[in-house]
């Protein structure tokens, strides 16, 4: 971070102060020594001629000379060090620019010495960085473009393929035997699945290229959730899962109902997969300050803390066996994240293994028209770890570095682990309660939770506990 601007720093940077002091000392000691020698030599050679008055005059002159020389030396020292520290300051500011990602920044230092060489090397480095950044952007665009084109190309042959298969199935070319029908339905099911994967790829390429389309209009969220639940009822029935509508009264908002419904369908679909027979799934939506908070809560097997971060990664499956068992493309939650984050919303999961989980997402009341590209193909885990690392260093200083590494080695960087860890710091009086609460909220935020909901978290927990007691 850039330090605040003040006069002291402008005139006397650290180098300035050190060098000026050095010059003053040298300027003081050198003439003092010279005068001292001159004095001793003079006194020893001309002892009999020196009067008392002359000695005191000598003393005064010597002191004045010493003071004048040291002042001069100080002034010279100031300018000399200024000439060194100024270009260093320039270089420092330039590195700050680099840190901000401004790779076109160049320093212009003409001191004809090592610092100029250093500045030249710096310019070369930032040039190289700029080139790398340019290449990175190009590769990134090429990747998105490739994904988009490939998906379209893959989709084209699906059209006649699906059509012909369905024609066979529907008896366009005569009746089929039972075995033929069975074989055909396997082919059709898998063609369908392949097509779904391709469609999801396309959706991801749109999200990554900020080409996702939103069609905003006045939307009745309550009705929307109701319709979505009705639509999903068919899927829920297969497992005899009950879908419970817990939506409170909401004002009409300007949003894209199809996109919200798409996210909800994905989450409900997911919840059904992880529910056991006869479970229920609760769908909620409530108004918070400037957004609507949606929730899909199931009472299935839950997700372990380790997996909670990673469920939004593409093709990430909680257990490798689940995909085969449940079908699905493995891209549903990734797309949900893309849609929600394109609207500057948040999406996260809370879960306790064995007790089900709740997926939350938020939709702002004012729609985001200018969509920005979102990198959803990256592993979120690395990004989150980096942020936690920074937070540790910021809150705990050098100790944070050590502690972070230790937690990382113990593989204890999940949200729950970190909250527990911060509580333990609080217990050891390393952090005051207020600060540790801030720290915890920062951690929760890093894990994607919406800031304003955190404030209400305490009350919710209390409420959960009451509910538990009542159930007993």
């Amino acid at each position: 971070m850039q330090k605040e601007f003040n006069k002291k720093n402008l005139f006397f940077s650290k180098i300035n102060r050190k060098l000026t002091l050095l010059f003053v000392i040298v300027g003081f000691v050198a003439p003092a020594l010279a005068v001292y020698y001159f004095y001793t030599v003079a006194v020893s050679s001309f002892t009999e001629y020196i009067f008392v008055e002359q000695i005191s005059l000598f003393n005064i002159i010597a002191i004045i000379i010493i003071i004048l020389i040291s002042i001069n030396a100080g002034i010279i020292g100031f300018f000399v060090s200024q000439s060194i520290s100024k270009p260093i300051k320039q270089l420092y500011n330039a590195t700050l620019e680099l840190e901000k990602g401004n790779y076109d920044f160049r320093v212009d230092i003409k001191t004809n010495d090592e610092i100029e060489e250093l500045a030249h090397a710096f310019n070369l480095t930032s040039e190289a960085l700029a080139k790398m950044e340019q290449e990175r952007i190009e590769i990134d665009n090429a990747k998105t473009e490739f994904l988009s084109i490939t998906s379209h190309e893959l989709r084209s042959p699906m059209t006649p393929m699906k059509a012909q298969l369905q024609m066979l199935q529907e008896g366009y070319f005569g009746k089929l035997s039972k075995k033929q029908k069975e074989s055909l339905s396997v082919i059709i099911r898998n063609a369908e699945r392949l097509d779904n994967i391709i469609a999801d790829f396309l959706e991801i390429s749109r999200i990554e290229a900020a080409r996702l389309k939103f069609d905003f209009r006045e939307t009745d969220i309550k009705q929307l959730v109701k319709d979505t639940i009705a639509f999903m009822q068919g899927f829920a029935k297969e497992k005899n899962v009950t879908l419970v509508d817990k939506v409170k009264n909401l004002p009409l908002i300007n949003a894209d109902p199809d996109r919200i419904s798409q996210v909800l369908r994905n989450l409900i679909n997911n919840a059904i997969k992880f529910s056991d027979e006869n479970n229920k799934i609760e769908v909620s939506a409530e108004l918070k300050n400037d957004f609507i908070l949606f929730g899909v809560k199931d009472y299935g097997r839950g997700i372990s803390p380790d997996n909670q971060v990673r469920v939004f990664e593409p093709f990430y499956q909680v257990e490798s066996s689940t995909r085969r068992k449940h079908g699905g493309t493995g891209l549903g939650l990734t797309i949900c994240r893309g849609i929600v984050e394109s609207q500057k919303g948040k999406i996260w999961v809370e879960s306790q293994p064995g007790r089900g989980c709740k997926f939350n997402f938020t939709v702002p009341l004012t729609p985001v028209i200018d969509i920005e590209p979102i990198k959803i193909l990256f592993s979120q885990k690395d990004v989150i770890e980096r942020k936690i690392h920074e937070e540790f260093k910021a809150v705990l200083g050098p100790l944070g570095e050590v502690e972070f590494n230790e937690l990382k080695n113990k593989n204890a960087l999940s949200k729950d682990d970190l909250i527990k860890y911060i509580d333990s710091l609080n217990g050891l009086y390393i952090l005051v309660p207020e600060k540790s609460e801030d720290f915890k909220n920062k951690i929760r935020e890093i894990f994607g939770e919406e800031k304003e909901i955190l404030a209400e978290k305490k009350n919710d927990m209390l409420y959960d506990n009451i509910e538990e007691v009542m159930l007993k």
Binding site: R155, T159, P160, A163
Partner: protein, 118 residues
């Protein structure tokens, strides 16, 4: 009276599949391989509906549809309707439907029936 449908698609497999489906359902079906071919065919026949792919080589579709007056057009495409709208393709008033590829056979039949029977 038997209705006539003109299928315009650069992919022969798509043309053939749709042709068989619609002929089975009792329509008279003509085919064209691209936009230019479509306009040439329109000099000879006057179909009741044109099923038109949006992405084809040759003359761009937006220029082709400007020259088609008084005949219903239904688009077929792998791109989404929102993208077609963005390209300003769906404004013309004789454009009556948008079939997302890959389509279901029953869906195709239903929608064509709906368009031609109204």
């Amino acid at each position: 009276m038997q209705k006539t449908i003109l299928i315009v698609d650069d992919e022969p497999d798509v043309r053939d599949s749709v042709k068989i489906i619609l002929e089975t359902k009792g329509y008279k079906v003509e085919t064209a391989v691209d936009g230019d071919d479509c306009l040439k065919k329109l000099n000879e026949i006057k179909p009741d509906l044109i099923l038109l792919d949006i992405m084809m080589p040759g003359t761009p579709v937006d220029e082709v549809i400007k020259k088609i007056k008084g005949i219903k057009i239904a688009f077929m495409s792998v791109v989404r309707i929102s993208e077609a709208r963005k390209r300003g393709l769906c404004k013309q008033e004789n454009i009556v439907d948008f079939l997302q590829k890959p389509f279901n056979v029953s869906d195709l039949v239903d929608r064509v029936g709906l368009i031609l029977n109204e």
